[in-house]
Every structure is written in C-alpha cells, then in structure tokens.
C-alpha cells in the first residue's frame, strides 16, 4: 500500500529508486512495529514508524528532511485510513 502511495509522489522530485526504498523500509519497520505495538500501544508505535521511516528515506534515498517527513506521513496516513475503512 505504501509503495502505491509513494508512486503518487511527484516524478520531478522523486529519487530514482524511491519505490524500492519505500518497499525495503517497510519490510524493516513493520516487523519491529508489530513487536512494539503491544507494549507501547497503536498510536505511539505508529508515530515511531513515521519518524523512523522519515530518517530512512533521508538516509537511503537522499531526500530532504521536509520531503522525507511528508512522504513518511503521507504513506502511513494512506495505509492507516485504508486499514480502518477496509
């Protein structure tokens, strides 16, 4: 879902390997999130995922702080809304 959401990121501002980065970052963050969801609760864990993913998008894809933050927030927001609706 997050890869699909990231595909909507403007092409002009999109690093070449952004979609692969999003997929890999999610493979990394989701198992860790499931580990922490029970002791921490859903919302703190989700916030931690957004922050971690923003750091990883900056570090791996070389995006700016603002862009990586917005991307992490947008992709997680999309999946969050869809998961509640579906």
């Amino acid at each position: 879902m997050e890869v699909t959401a990231a595909a909507c990121w403007p092409r002009s501002a999109r690093p070449e390997d952004l979609l692969w980065t999003v997929a890999s970052v999610n493979l990394l963050t989701h198992p860790i999130a499931y580990l922490f969801a029970s002791p921490l609760g859903f919302w703190p864990t989700e916030a931690g995922v957004v922050v971690s993913e923003a750091f990883l998008y900056r570090g791996v894809a070389g995006m700016g702080w603002k862009a990586s933050g917005v991307l992490a927030l947008a992709t997680n927001g999309c999946t969050l809304v869809l998961s509640f609706l579906l």
């Binding site: 390997d17 980065t21 990394l28 198992p31």
Partner: protein, 187 residues
C-alpha cells in the same frame, strides 16, 4: 473537510474501544480450562459472563470454556443442588444472578489479538483451583498456550520466522540500495 474532522476524531477515539481490532491485527479465540473443578465436595463450578451475551458454562475438568475479557467472564462456585445456572440468569442482570456465590476473576494473561500474519488463532490458559469455600475461590495459573487453527501448539519459531525474514530482506535491500546510490555518486 466536512468528513475529515469527524473521521480523524473517530480514528483517534475508536481504537481504544474493545470492539475494534487494531489495523493489521486479528482477534484471538480465548479459552480457559480448569484442572480440578470437581475436587471440592458439595460444590460445582461455572464460568459466566457479567455483561453482554449470556454465556454460562458448567466447568468440567480440563475442558476449555470461552473466556471474554470484554464481557467479564468470571468463575463461580455453586453449592451442589443449585438450580441450572441459565435459570439463575433468566431476566436478571448477569452479575446479580450470581450475587452471594463465591467467585474469582480468572488470572488470564493471554493475548486477545495478534498480528494478522501470526499462526496463532486461539489462546488457552489452564488454571487450578487452590481453594473453594463460602469465603471465595482461589485460582492459580498453571500454563498458557497459543494454538493454531488446527488446535496445535504454536512453536516459537513459527511466530518469528516471517517477521525476522521480512526484517532480514528489508535490511539487505536497504544496504544494496545505499551501495548502489554511493556507486552512482562516485561513478
């Protein structure tokens, strides 16, 4: 905008409701068994919900009965000869029907929900009655087991193989992407 604000408020409030499962999680069928409900002369043991749908079970040794933290399943000791428990509940609030009988909340620590990919479908807590008299019931947790859809115990490696596999693949892919990026930058 008209829909956005109520939706956002709803998303923040609703997940705390026991009716909702967190996104990415599934409900676990919760079961409790008692090893020795017949060890106490003159008493039999029932499990009953305090709230919601009426669910009264006469507890047999080692036979699992449904447990609900949401509906407050409680264990009661009833003197032999007490009318059928369902009749006690008839037309009255559940809790009131069992007022005056010794009771205890089962010491259950099993998970009520797990990640959607988990092989766990049921959780079974086995209890032992240490004491049953007019003053109350003493319950002790003997074991907790997680079971798959076929009722088989879930081994620890089945819980971890998928998340750890995903983690390893993610880490390897990110390392490869970083290297590719550096190569492109230097080349």
């Amino acid at each position: 905008m008209m829909l956005t604000v109520p939706l956002l408020i709803g998303f923040c409030v609703l997940p705390s409701s026991p009716d909702l499962i967190q996104p990415g999680y599934k409900r676990v069928e919760q079961l409790v068994a008692i090893e020795n409900p017949r060890d106490f002369d003159g008493w039999f043991v029932v499990a009953a919900t305090l709230l919601g749908p009426i669910d009264v079970t006469v507890v047999e040794p080692g036979v699992p009965f449904p447990y609900s933290s949401k509906y407050g399943t409680r264990v009661y000791g009833l003197p032999v000869g007490t009318p059928v428990p369902e009749a006690l509940v008839d037309g009255r609030p559940h809790g009131a029907a069992f007022d005056g009988f010794p009771s205890a909340h089962p010491p259950v620590t099993q998970p009520s929900e797990v990640a959607f990919y988990s092989p766990t479908n049921r959780a079974l807590t086995t209890l032992r009655i240490l004491r049953l008299d007019e003053s109350g019931i003493g319950l002790k947790q003997v074991s907790t087991q997680t079971l798959d859809a076929h009722g088989r115990p879930v081994a620890w490696w089945r819980l971890w193989v998928l998340p750890l596999g995903a983690l390893a693949v993610g880490l390897a892919a990110l390392t490869w992407l970083v290297r590719q990026r550096r190569q492109r930058a230097t080349g």
